[in-house]
């Protein structure tokens, strides 16, 4: 039998390390690029285009030509066979066509714009704000819902708070990883990122609720048992379910990640990370946190403190 509750220090430590890595990455990114996360065109405006070259050309050639044509700031990403995603400043569809034609003549290849997307920076600020508000509203709504769902338990707020802390951890770790991806391979976040993040919010809380539901049931069954023991029993009992649900979801997500094409690659990646981290945080963080709160073992959150006798 796995002892989740007694090993909680280690579980907390793992999350804390991930959070710290995220914070460091956000700070480095802020110092280096003046933004904690690489923002996609949904959030700062610009143009993204998928160009199809036949015959195929090298990414470095495109970069050279783009610089010659005055698009120094353009980011070029390789998509599937012969396709490249180009992110650059706001250009109209006519300018984009002109650019594609010039690239075609210079690189001696047929160029086709198969996806052209323009967002002007003037509205992007509003989108960023709305995305942020959406995540906050979703989180607060979850808190209220859980407090309501566990209203017959003693101290319902505690249950909601623990679930939301685990959730926030989950969201923050994903943001941290994307900040790191932004630093390392220039991955930018877009509206789909926020969409996936909100789906993760739903999934992660879903998992926590299943565990909490079992704790609730077991508390009413074995009143004499110690709270920590009840929580641990409940975790062990729900473990198979949590892992199986996570696994089935991971199967479909992996298939989408590997075969779904480049358009939704990062969208699926967020979902995948969300399921993995969500399963971890609801099992290994949310429920043990309840025990910490109940027994006032706050020092457990600090990995190097001595265990209370």
């Amino acid at each position: 039998m796995i002892d989740f509750v007694n090993n909680k220090r280690w579980f907390f430590l793992i999350s804390e390390i991930l959070v710290i890595i995220g914070i460091i990455s956000l700070i480095i990114s802020q110092l280096q690029f003046k933004t904690p996360l690489q923002l996609g065109i949904d959030f700062k405006g610009g143009t993204s285009m998928i160009l199809q070259f036949s015959p195929p050309v090298e990414q470095s050639e495109i970069r050279e030509e783009m610089i010659k044509l005055g698009y120094d700031e353009a980011r070029i990403q390789s998509a599937s066979e012969g396709d490249f995603i180009i992110y650059t400043r706001e250009i109209t569809s006519d300018q984009a066509k002109e650019l594609a034609e010039k690239l075609g003549t210079e690189l001696d290849s047929q160029v086709e714009i198969i996806d052209y997307y323009l967002v002007w920076g003037t509205v992007a600020g509003e989108t960023t704000r709305n995305a942020f508000i959406a995540v906050v509203i979703a989180t607060v709504a979850m808190l209220f819902y859980i407090v309501w769902a566990f209203r017959h338990m003693p101290k319902p707020f505690r249950w909601g708070a623990c679930a939301v802390i685990a959730l926030a951890l989950n969201v923050f770790i994903i943001i941290g990883i994307f900040s790191l991806l932004g630093l390392l391979v220039a991955v930018a976040i877009d509206a789909l990122f926020v969409t996936a993040l909100l789906a993760v919010v739903g999934y992660s809380i879903n998992n926590t609720v299943v565990v909490f539901d079992r704790i609730r049931e077991n508390m009413s069954k074995h009143i004499r048992l110690d709270f920590a023991q009840t929580v641990n029993d409940s975790l062990v009992e729900t473990l198979a379910r949590c892992l199986n649900t996570a696994l089935t979801t991971i199967f479909v997500l992996l298939a989408l990640l590997l075969f779904g094409g480049s358009t939704i690659y990062y969208f699926v990646l967020v979902l995948l990370m969300g399921v993995v981290i969500g399963t971890y945080s609801s099992t290994c963080v949310a429920a043990p946190l309840l025990v910490v709160w109940e027994n006032r073992e706050w020092n457990a959150l600090w990995p190097f403190s001595k265990k209370r006798a």
């Binding site: 949904d42 109209t92 569809s93 086709e112 714009i113 198969i114 996806d115 052209y116 997307y117 323009l118 967002v119 002007w120 003037t122 509205v123 509003e126 989108t127 995305a131 959406a134 509203i137 979703a138 709504a141 979850m142 819902y145 859980i146 509206a191 789909l192 926020v194 969409t195 909100l198 789906a199 919010v201 739903g202 999934y203 809380i205 879903n206 609720v209 299943v210 539901d213 079992r214 049931e217 009992e237 379910r241 199986n244 649900t245 089935t248 979801t249 991971i250 199967f251 479909v252 997500l253 298939a255 989408l256 590997l258 075969f259 779904g260 358009t263 939704i264 969208f267 699926v268 979902l271």
Partner: protein, 456 residues
Amino acid sequence: MKRSTVYLFIFILALFGFALWSIVPLDRNVLGRERLKLGLDLKGGCYLVYQADLREAEPGTEDEIMEGVKGVIERRINALGITESTVQIQKHAERYSIVIQIPGIADVEKAKEMVGLFTVLEFREQDVVGNWTPAKGTVNGTEMTLTSRYFKENTYISFDPLTQKPLLVFEWDETGTQLSEQITQRLIGKPLAIFLGDKPLRGEDGYIIAPTVQEKISERGVITGLSLTDAETLSRLLNAGRIRVPLGKWEGEEFKPNIPLYDRTVDATLGQDSIQRSIVAAAIGIVLLAIFMLLYYRLPGLVACLSLGIYGVLLLAIFKLVPITLTLPGVAGFVVSFGMAVDANVLIFERIKEELRAGRSLGASVEAGFNRAWTAIRDSNITTFIACLVLFWLGGELGALMVRGFAVTLFIGVALSMFTAITVTRTFLRLIVHSRVINNLAAYGVTPLQITRNTR
């Protein structure tokens, strides 16, 4: 066996049959163009958002003007022979914008051109051969065409006091009056048609709206003989055409005409590619999932796979019947919802296993499994609903084109998965258990050694 179980079974079969019928036999390809509505990222097409410059509009008339603009754009797009377009009006931070989605269009530039023009209706007369040519007159020595630009105020509908038939009342400004006098003088007894670009306006009955000039019209005139709907549509169009509503984008306080705020154009080949990729991905993912369920849960796993199959067919039928426009994230939502749909089954099966291990009878374990898993299923899915609602709100905001598709598909998916787990899986399991076809506990994933107490 309980009668209600049998009835429920028949109901499920009927529902499944109906859903299957609604998606399959009518077309060979389920994702075919006519059947499931596909978004522009799957089908190719364009998505444009323009902001309107309403500085010259009278306060309070903005909504009406925007409705007119919307009507004009819709007509223009329909004139291109595209039927699945949507045009919406949105208001953000006191600025109106118009959101245009045209899926499956080959000539995107043409669409943009048509939409980008500002809207003016032109009056035309018939020449000797019967062709419609612009009705012209001369003002201050220059030849000018009579257009809706010269209306003094908004046109309005009134009713003939005698016949109670609708009248469309209009008034010309100074230039308009001069032009109108010259033209109507010349055209008494002849028709005068109203054109939008190169297309004449047509009434509900499909005939060209070309009222016959009864007398010389100076400042004020009426058009009679229109149906009420036609009169209303025409009035709206004329009003939108009268006021110049430049479409473009705002940059702070400065307005840039003809430049869309958002512009997304997807080539149809990319959409085709995306569809193929997601079908492959979905198939692989779902097969893996099914294998896992079969190996791990055995007989209940098989039941879950059956109920997942029903789930998939029902979901596609809902997408088609509502209809819901499927986007790429929507497809991802569809596939992910399969993973989540398993969840309710997994919750229930784990419970059944526990009950069996505790030594309960098969029938009792199945019932207890469902009853005990219910609170967890309910509470946990409500959280996903909350997330979907927030996403739906976010998706209504400017630009977040793909977000809503995902929210809607996930919401419907989760709701339906609760139904299939609770109703379909339960009915199937009950039928199997009560018919006593398979009583071997190993089929339910429990070995006799695992049964701890056999007291109950």
